[in-house]
Amino acid sequence: MKKLFFIAVMLVTGFANAQSRYDGAMEKGLAQLKEAKTPAEMLTVSAFFERVADAEKDKWLPFYYAARTNILGGWMDPKADKDKSAEKSKELIAKAEALEPNNAEIYCLKQQVAVQQLTVDAMSRWQTYGAVAAEAIAKAKAADPENPRPYLLEGQYQLNVPEAFGGGKAVAKKLLERSLTLFNNYKPASPFHPDWGKELAEKTLAACQ
């Protein structure tokens, strides 16, 4: 009896260990994400999440973070070829979406890639990529109305749009206040689900005053 109990404990611990290999990797990746200071470090984190995602095959979160860190790496490097970086981000986003369709966080990533490509040639691209970004935010809001991040991203975007075109500080302020209200109440579905942005919302709101 003791032996059986012992074997059972071993098996359970063993199983728990296999599960926590993924959890351990996600924890490690998210910690590295917080620590990454240079574009090269960010892209290393992206490659790490991509390896985890390819190994697991059925989890959308590592693909999500691989895309998010790739987008951040592209932003951090002023010399980066943004269109090329966007191609890679879109690849990763597509893989995430295939596993988890109609997800607000993934729509938020799509908006970020569109804004990144818009900035390459704002004068000619603001109409097409602006429309793609707006559509992504609208879908994100529809998929998860309580999610604060669509409002954060929309507020950030509108802050840079001239008032003549429906943007400006007043519009951004309303959106960012809305996002902060939602941040206070939002509970991510798991410790690995996206939980970023509150500090960013506060900082951006301060720039609107």
Partner: protein
């Protein structure tokens, strides 16, 4: 119990003391060059790394046993190598082979300026055309700020590298536009008929263009009309020169769109405010209406119909050089209709089909009347030079065309393109003078077939051979015209292209009314281009040699063709530099052309540099836009050395040896985008020739009046007014379909 604890401890310890294996190595391409940032993955695990700037990687893994180590990099084929993980360091050096991919491959441009959002090195988008000072939103005038296009102020058309206006063809969606410019008025260059906002992309080739186009000895300007617009809009345009109103409706899900616009242009108010040198007894008055309908078909196809109608008239009076005190009154009445139906579709399996059909009709009623000082019809003088200036000319032109091009892609990027086209040109004219009426009619049924291939030999080397064959019913002859372009990529952003081609063109139909037994005209192009296009910068240098093997010769009056034994050459060098990045919000370009050309054509007694060529010419175009204030200022300086003009006082040896003064024009415009109520608006203000520089395009000579030295007198051909002013307000009210679509789905 003790046993259990020991087993547990051993179990835990095995976990702690798991051996770590080092995996290291390098990644290079199959030519030995370092690949930094390549990814290495131990397949099925989370372990791996990226190569550093020296192409090397190192990582530790706790895995044991046999695994596949995979190396990959964007643009290369991934390689997997089996490894055994035990205790020793594993070292693998990878060699990756390039994958020919759209992102990396050299772009075959055959020396053309390509502008679309897809290709880098964008040169002329609709916004570029509208904000270039001096161009007044005219496509052709903006092209003249690029190298290769000569500035000819007294005549409309694209004069490319020493070629006359007939040698350049302009297409919309692949269909040749017969009357791209408004009808000719003596001494005054007319603008293009179409708004730049109709187009999403322009391909402007100054030579060596693709085999899919033909019948242009010098160049082709290919304009692509926009697809479904982003949003529904109502548009209003106001200016002292014109008023326009239009709407564009985009249906749900952006599946289709339709629109209509009307424009009334009348220059009488403008001409009262800005004095004009000629006497416009009938100020230019034009009505334009156009309509469009577009819809997306299944599988990403697009069907578009565009229809354009324009009717207008003007009357302009100039003093006659053939007799002091008399005047020439020129009357023009024009009706023009153009419709273009295009359809493109992907047929699956790498096949794409592009078809277009168009119909165009143009009617000109021209009357030139000799009048006396009181602007009354002058009675017959019995002096031929004067009396023959009174004439009437009625021209009618019909053009029908249909064209189909199929694209087949095989492999990663290689493409085969082939197709055929038919044109039917039907021109009839009636010329009346004191001798009677002289009708003429010319019909040409033209067919052509062409094939071209894009062959990517490596990611760095691409070859485009092409062949075109044409048959003209009027000439009753056929021809064969090969083309070839070779592009080699020198670095990440630069490439060298060599172009060769034989270009054929049916001689101008106007001269074939009485005898059409001639062969096609022919020009052979040899072009070498180097270009460097990075984000925000474009640099091009191009050297060319155009051998005009066959040009048209006519009788002295330039009325009937006499042969195709004319010839000529054009050679030169062109430079272009555009910088959108160095200075914030500042976009500028500098272009320079050197042209050495001579030709013996039409009624030329000897080979000479033609009137539409200048040895040195260039432009400097500046644009600065302040995003916060939505305000932009634009400046351009266009210059060229003097152009040849015909002086009948010289003998044949001095034919076209005179030169006008050098040409220079400084132009300024500003655009402001305020929000007026709910409308997005654009305010444009422009002044051409700000510094009132004297511009002389050539000289008109009398045919009989001589001065004190026995020389025929002349009058300089100058712009109708030294400075041109433009003020316009454009408003648009939009309905954003995206929001509607989301709302309707909730």
């Amino acid at each position: 119990m003790k046993q259990a604890i020991i087993i547990v401890l051993m179990f835990l310890c095995t976990y702690c003391l798991t051996a770590q294996v080092h995996v290291t190595g390098s990644v290079r391409d199959n030519r030995g060059r370092i690949l930094a940032g390549a990814s290495i993955t131990l397949k099925g695990t989370y372990d791996g790394a990226n190569t550093d700037s020296t192409g090397r990687f190192v990582f530790k893994t706790t895995e044991q046993g046999s695994f596949m180590l995979v190396a990959g990099n964007i643009g290369y084929k991934s390689v997997a190598f089996p490894v055994i993980l035990a205790r020793d360091t594993v070292r693998v050096n990878f060699s990756l082979k390039e994958e020919i991919s759209e992102l990396k491959a050299v772009v075959i441009t055959a020396g053309a300026f390509v502008a679309s959002d897809k290709k880098k090195g964008t040169v002329l988008k609709p916004l570029d055309i509208v904000t270039t000072a001096g161009a007044v939103a005219d496509i052709a005038a903006t092209l003249q700020t690029l190298p290769g296009a000569q500035r000819v102020g007294e005549q409309e058309g694209l004069f490319i590298r020493g070629g006359s206006a007939e040698e350049a063809k302009i297409m919309i969606d692949g269909a040749v536009v017969n009357n791209f410019f408004y009808s000719a008025v003596p001494g005054i260059a007319q603008r293009g008929r179409f708004s730049p906002f109709l187009f999403s992309g322009t391909v402007f080739s100054t030579g060596g263009y693709s085999a899919i186009y033909g019948q242009a000895l010098s160049s082709v300007l290919s304009l692509e009309s926009i697809d479904i617009p982003e949003r529904s809009e109502v548009q209003v345009g106001l200016s002292p020169l014109f008023g326009s109103v239009g709407f564009q409706e985009v249906t749900k899900h952006k599946k289709s769109s339709y629109g209509f616009s009307y424009n009334w242009t009348n220059l009488s108010l403008y001409q009262q405010l800005v004095p004009q040198a000629p006497d416009y007894f009938k100020a230019p008055d034009f009505h334009t209406a156009d309509a469009n309908f577009r819809f997306k078909t299944k599988g990403n196809g697009m069907f578009k119909i565009y229809a354009y109608f324009n009717a207008g008239s003007l009357g302009i009076r100039n003093p006659s050089l053939d007799s002091i005190g008399l005047k020439n009154a020129f009357n023009l009445s024009n009706k023009n209709f153009f419709t273009n139906i295009s359809f493109r579709q992907s047929l699956g399996n790498g096949w794409k089909l592009n078809t277009v059909a168009s119909i165009s009709y143009n009617k000109d009623q021209i009357r030139n009347e000799v009048q006396n000082a009181d602007n009354q019809t002058n009675p017959v003088t019995h002096i031929p030079e004067i009396d023959y200036n009174s004439f009437q000319l009625n021209n009618r032109q019909w053009m029908l065309q249909a064209r189909a091009v199929a694209d087949k892609r095989f492999g990663a990027m290689n493409t085969l393109r082939f197709g055929a086209e038919v044109w039917n040109n039907s021109d009839s004219s009636r010329y009346n003078n004191q001798d009677g009426a002289f009708p003429a009619a010319v019909n040409d049924f033209y067919t052509a077939a062409f094939a071209e291939a894009d062959l990517y030999i490596t990611n760095d080397l691409a070859f485009r051979p092409g062949l075109r064959t044409e048959h003209s019913g009027l000439l009753n002859k056929w021809n064969l015209a090969p083309r070839a372009a070779l592009s080699y990529k020198l670095g990440q952003n630069s490439q060298v292209t060599a172009d060769y081609g034989i270009f054929r063109q049916t001689p101008d139909r106007r001269f074939l009314a009485n005898n059409a037994n001639f062969d096609f005209l022919r020009a052979d192009h040899y072009i070498l281009t180097y270009q460097h296009i990075a984000a925000g910068y474009t640099f091009r240098i191009q050297a060319f040699y155009k051998d005009y093997r066959s040009l048209l010769k006519t009788d002295d009056a330039v009325r009937n063709a006499t042969g195709t034994n004319g010839n000529g050459y054009a050679k030169g060098l062109e430079l272009f530099w555009r910088d959108k990045k160095t200075f914030k919000g500042f976009d500028y370009w500098i272009s320079y052309s050197y042209l050495d050309t001579k030709r013996n054509y039409n009624n030329y007694p000897v080979a000479a540099m033609p009137t539409f060529a200048a040895t040195h010419s260039g432009s400097v175009v500046l644009k600065k836009f302040w995003v916060k204030q939505m305000f932009g200022m634009n400046w351009s300086w266009n210059w060229s050395t003097g152009r040849p003009y015909y002086n009948p006082n010289l003998s044949a040896a001095g034919f076209l040896s005179n030169r006008t003064i050098a040409y220079s024009s400084n132009n300024f415009s500003l655009n402001w985008l305020p929000k007026i109520g709910k409308a997005n608006s654009v305010v444009v203000v422009g002044i051409n020739n700000v510094f009132n520089e004297l511009q002389i395009f050539g000289y008109n000579y009398s045919s009989r009046v001589k001065d004190g030295n026995g020389q025929l007198i002349n009058a300089a051909v100058v712009p109708p007014a030294p400075r041109t002013f433009f003020v316009g307000l454009f408003l648009s009210w939009g309905v954003d379909r995206t929001q509607q679509q989301i709302n309707s789905n909730l």
